[in-house]
Symmetry: D2
Subunit: 288 residues, 4 copies
């Protein structure tokens, strides 16, 4: 049984003494630091930090840690910070359309216990993948926006209500082929993870593998990123690529791309669950 | 001493019997096929082929092979074809500006005898790299277009005259930071190789590493391609990538990119020298 | 509905005229060649070839094609050849132990219709993964060899009987942690595919991730290969790697390796199902 | 003009408060930390750290910093530490045999000013590459051990004397095909960098590309490592790989491998020059 830990994620303008003060705050309160990672952006003169410590013996009760960080460090250093606890599993909703490869990959990891996460619900705009949800015993909800879009508001409200009632912390779009509502984006800032089937910023938008084929590229990619209001333009979390050749067709690119997509999406979800991602100026800091 | 070989590069609409007829043409004339590579594009229903055979004992004299191919195969199959000979070394001009890494990489391979090529001249718009040319004993020619561009035509004529007088077969732009004239592009169709320091089509144009940094990508790339009239849009020959992280700055991307650029450019030059590239519809077929 | 095709895989000593004769055999019998790939090993002077053609209109009945190939080509060229038909789905058995990631990856592809294959049974030496088999509705058979190994022959016979009664064509060891019997290897020559969790030939045998950690490598790999009597020494089908760093522990290598293993295994299975692999002198020729 | 900086590399048993104390030591003495990287090995419970700060305004004179670190931190924490200064360029000797690709790559970077390093001499056991040294104006020294090895001691002494008289700090073996003397290894502990043309620990020793071809691997690699008395078994600094296929021959592996070798070697040299490498238990910690 692993003992509960606190995880502090923060960023602030870089000034002398911050690291000394942050680590001092924890050690003076009898916290045993088990992991520390930090990065200084020399262009923006900004410090990014992730620090993890055992709660056992820590002299500040867990419900007061956030407040203590603010008072003893946050104000002085103009800090953006957030404290997480390793024994509070984040709750993740999955949105899918018709392709099963990412969904299977996410659920297989979940079922195998790879992740400290709960998956209370799967949402779709199609019935196609209900059987996968049923294989894993997870509720599957379908709402379709009608061709005239007259029920858009209704569908978006129902989805938001589902996320709220399931206390969902973050959303994973596992090849979900429909736009996310502005409201959902606002409610889940940098908490909606999408997989785009190209090496962004190349081939934004629709049918990226066909675009890649037409351009004659020799490598294709996949990109996981946080969703913002700009389509396919949010902070990139992870990318990977695979070499192709003149022998490939748009169909074979789709096949090769599937393996990329599921791995790149799952790597991003892993980092998000482990609270190892900070965002700043539309870029991510992803700790190792 | 390797015996001279003929290399036939061709493409044509795919029809039954072509491969049988092409290989038959060579074997019936007592040519020993030493390499054959072919690719059928099922979307365009088009065959691409490279076939190499020993000239020793071949019953058609080398100066009549092109004509024989045309008469016995080309007309019947509506074929685009070209015959090369392994003992005719292509002559390559290098254009550079101020950065030495690609130039050194090309010249080191040339000097070490890696390539069956001649390099009669280096052209630049700056004096900076004359010392490198002198280290390798290759003539270095500098022409600068004046700020008001009044001497543009004169410079372009001088460059073309240099290429003609040196019987240059193809041109390598080794981080050459100036536009190539339309006339040169017309005279060297798919015979001018450029290296662009991004994973095209992402980050066309100027300062791609800065663009990549701003977008927050997790992988950067380099692309070698044939130059056409559309900037950074010609047929891609080779691409490669390297993983980066939030720790990278535009400066470190420039450093990491240099290694990519020189390797990706040299791979393209190798394939070009070996006559292993065909182009069709702005894409390349690069045989293995 | 795709029309049935024949696939001819062959290798033989390289001699003039073979390609002409093989393609001629098909076109003269009114077969329309839809794919041809060939490779000449210049060291062993040996030709390897895969040729695929539409059966529609082919003048030789499918049950006589093998015989015709032998008589008209095989004897003359001292050829090893085998004809397959695209509408005959190979039957694949999966062997597993306790780890689910490869099994889920194989079954998700199967269920999504990625492969032209049948999976009639899953075999294990443990009960652990029965729930996965049940999720996908595939019979799951467990046999354990007792600690004193007294029932080894009995278990091996039962396994062989299962494979026979299910008309299994090839076997996939999806992280199966037990030796395969010599009899099974003899009955399925180059038809048993294993995934080894290292970049072979480095780190053969047990606990390769721990070996990799101890050696301090900067990249880890996974290798899919055909099983022969020499442990981890059969012909390699596919390998891939992932970069690691000093931050990794044996545990994190195991996690990162899982993604490699499942992708590398599935790529090998794909090529095997597509009849794109030839073996010769303990190496594979894998057509694109 | 960049102001001089101090670089402290250290490792010690991990204990609470170390980071606070190390960073406190610098900030209390008015040093401005410009870079900090640290890693805790949780298996060995050991801290590794690299910290870089501006010397401008630092209250301890540079000649006393080492002593101050020892007294104020080293003894208390049982620390192995070493202080470097950014304006003290390390002096590097290159050893070569007959292949020029790594040598050209090193010298091109040196000449282009990529590295803060001095290269006072090149050593070889053959005359072959004297022309390269002459192109770059660097003294080239040749000593050959006679077939009967009677002059081995004499050669080794001459080489050591050359390194001493040139105040060489570290040695780069750029495809040097002769064993290094035990004395040199003792005098330059973890300061001799070799490039081995395989993905170690696979294919140690002679002719690794031929070994790779015989084994039928699908990926080849190169490994840079510190030289120890165990052949090809010292701490690995960097590795990289390239995909190959059944079309490759031992000769084409040699060609493809050359590009890997020079890049992998130069990456290791870069990290060494930047003082970003710590070694412990035959593994390296390479900071980003």
């Amino acid at each position: 049984m692993i003992k509960p830990r606190a995880i502090l994620l923060l960023h602030c303008p870089d000034r002398q003494g911050i690291i000394t003060d942050v680590t001092g705050f924890i050690t003076h309160n009898h916290g045993n630091i088990v992991d520390l990672d930090q990065h200084v952006d020399r262009i923006d003169e900004r410090l990014f930090m992730r620090i993890e410590w055992d709660l056992d013996g820590f002299s500040i009760p867990r419900e007061h840690i956030n407040e203590a960080v603010d008072q003893q460090l946050g104000i002085r250093y103009d800090m953006h910070s957030r404290v997480y606890f390793s024994d509070e599993k984040p709750r993740m909703a999955i949105f899918v359309s018709k392709m099963s490869h990412c969904l299977y990959d996410l659920l297989a990891r979940y079922r195998a216990g790879e992740w400290e996460v709960e998956i209370p619900c799967i949402v779709s705009n199609h019935e196609d993948l209900r059987y996968v949800a049923e294989q894993f015993g997870i509720p599957y909800h379908v709402w379709s926006i009608s061709p005239d879009k007259s029920n858009r508001a209704e569908v978006e409200n129902a989805e938001m209500e589902l996320l709220r009632s399931n206390r969902v912390n973050f959303v994973v779009l596992a090849r979900y082929m429909q736009l996310i509502s502005d409201e959902m984006i606002s409610c889940y800032p940098h908490n909606i993870i999408n997989i785009h089937h190209s090496f962004l910023p190349a081939f934004k938008g629709a049918r990226p593998y066909h675009q890649a084929f037409d351009r004659g590229v020799k490598i294709i990619g996949a990109t996981s990123h946080y969703v913002t209001r700009d389509l396919d333009a949010g902070p990139i979390i992870e990318q990977d690529v695979v070499r192709i050749s003149h022998k490939d067709t748009p169909d074979s690119l789709v096949r090769k791309g599937r393996d990329l997509e599921k791995i790149v999406l799952s790597r991003a979800v892993t980092k998000h669950i482990e609270r190892k991602i900070l965002t700043y100026k539309n870029r991510t800091i992803v700790f190792g």
